[in-house]
Symmetry: C2
């Protein structure tokens, strides 16, 4: 006779991936406890039991998403180092154009909006993610670059501008802008 379907223990750690999946699909704006709980296969009652409050849940979720983003950057890092700043730029632009990244991008702008409005935890998460990206960019800068730290910051600025324009449907503008800025890949 089969074992009676052991239910695995529930914890923040086991819930966070499921919660992240839901907010990636539907955004923070629609993230109320009952839908979140349903997506995680539990009840609003249990979410509050484990996280204490919705605000704490969101804070934990933001931290988890930031860690997820950092992990994603690690695996996306190729072994070969690009030879020009424009190549670094092209690499990350291509990566962000990947349809698999789209839910993350949509969520990203919600995080930026929350940070701009001062919603607790959002600015910290946004800063963490941009810090990760900046660090990754510094490591990606070409060997002979005269100013890798400054160059990484410059590229970060350009990248995020291009991402924003793409998000609102002005990808063409961004592409033409990068071209005119001398940032077309070799």
């Amino acid at each position: 006779m089969p074992a009676p379907a052991r239910k695995p223990p529930m914890s923040k750690e086991s819930l966070l991936p499921l919660l992240a999946r839901h907010v990636l699909a539907h955004g923070f704006g629609q993230a109320s406890l009952r839908p979140l709980a349903k997506a995680a296969g539990t009840s609003d009652r249990m979410l509050l039991y484990h996280f204490g409050s919705k605000e704490a849940l969101i804070a934990d979720l933001l931290a988890y998403l930031a860690a997820l983003y950092a992990a994603g950057l690690e695996t996306a890092l190729g072994d070969d180092r690009p030879s020009t700043r424009a190549d670094v730029l092209a690499r990350i632009i291509d990566q962000n154009r990947d349809p698999a990244m789209q839910p993350f991008m949509a969520l990203w702008w919600e995080i930026v909006a929350g940070a701009a409005r001062g919603t607790p935890g959002f600015a910290a998460a946004a800063q963490a993610m941009m810090g990760e990206l900046l660090g990754w960019l510094e490591g990606q800068m070409p060997e002979g670059d005269a100013d890798p730290a400054g160059g990484a910051r410059y590229l970060l600025t350009v990248i995020e501008g291009a991402m924003m324009l793409s998000a609102i449907g002005h990808a063409d503008t961004a592409r033409e802008g990068l071209l005119a800025g001398g940032l077309a890949p070799s």
Copy 2:
């Protein structure tokens, strides 16, 4: 005896400025009908009477905000044309740093987030505003610029990247990036 306090007629046009004031202060996320109505000195009942539905109200409000932004750009335009791209950049960065712009910037990122998630009307409003800014930038490009159209797009990309980094508290990163990108004002 004094006239019995004529109440002026209510219309979309008279309501929109008051509604805009409220969303600028509190954001779209908190924009539910009753608070909006209170800010406009009326009732949710009347907002729906005049706009038809909340979705239509938001659409009208976005269009109004886009027009407001365009009008603001007109008046911000100085008569003197800058002599370098970096000066154009510095001018608009300074303008956006103005504390008076902060509510607008906070709202802007909400509009971007809505556009990225496909919320109806948000992408159109975002595109309209960026189109206005792009046109303004083209008119501001230095006299002898080799590629004013491309240069304006390049500057737009850089500007928005810098604005985003500032919004999340990484203004220093943006400043250092612009410096390294050769975009420090002369």
